[in-house]
Symmetry: C2
Subunit: 143 residues, 2 copies
């Protein structure tokens, strides 16, 4: 059987591949959104209902420490995960629907580096989230 992208990454890192980890890796490999633990648990249960929540917590933490997954916390304080292999980007969260839109802008990146440097720091990480509401036609016209 074909290995999922995340399973392959796990192997490269020399992680012991248990049934549970395989399932978790596969489920997250095909996830293109930003599920929280509860959501991950639900998806896992569709595949193997015997996997416990504790294992999911442990595995997601492990994957995060191994930089296989990225952990986010958007506003609500609930941990959400996404595949770390996707290229660097930020998130715009729709305040109404909660929908998450990914974006990347080079100018922001450069500016952040610059700001950090001017404060006497080397930038080692950053977090940027925009919260917005859809532009109405009216507002679009005005602008």
């Amino acid at each position: 059987m074909r290995l999922s992208h995340l399973e392959k990454t796990c192997q490269e890192k020399g992680l012991r591949m248990t049934t549970q980890r395989r399932v978790i890796a596969r489920v997250l490999s095909v996830s293109e959104d930003h599920p929280n633990i509860e959501e991950v648990y639900k998806r896992i249960q569709q595949v193997d209902p015997k996997i416990s929540l504790a294992t999911i917590y442990r595995t997601l933490r492990l994957f995060q420490e191994e930089h296989i997954l990225k952990r986010h916390e958007f506003g609500d304080g609930i941990a959400r995960y996404e595949n770390a292999s996707v290229e660097h980007h930020h998130h715009l969260i729709d305040k109404g629907t909660g929908q998450i839109i990914e974006f990347y802008d080079d100018r922001i990146e450069t500016l952040q580096q610059e700001i950090a440097k001017s404060l006497g720091y080397e930038l080692v990480g950053h977090r940027l989230e925009l919260y917005g509401v859809p532009l109405t036609k009216d507002k679009k016209k005005k602008s």
Copy 2:
């Protein structure tokens, strides 16, 4: 006795001013950092050890809802508060010491507006945090 800045704000908003709220408002008025609840509790206890943690939670939430305080969560997921009357700014967190440096940059603000608009959204909020390590002399020279 002179009212603290935050006490005044509370009165303007028509909040009932209990002893506890006064103490909490005063302690936060003189705080120029970003204390978490535990830290706020400690400071409160120096002034009036009988004020309960529950009251502090309730009051900080109230103050936040009234836009008297701003709540932040930097990386660690612990709520931190700061006086909302300070002007808009972002934070650079020193990864080594945890020290928090405030900064403001107009170009970032403009860029964010622009990005949101280009995605079809009106920007209603944002969060930006930089994480850095102090530049060493070496690195300073190189740059």
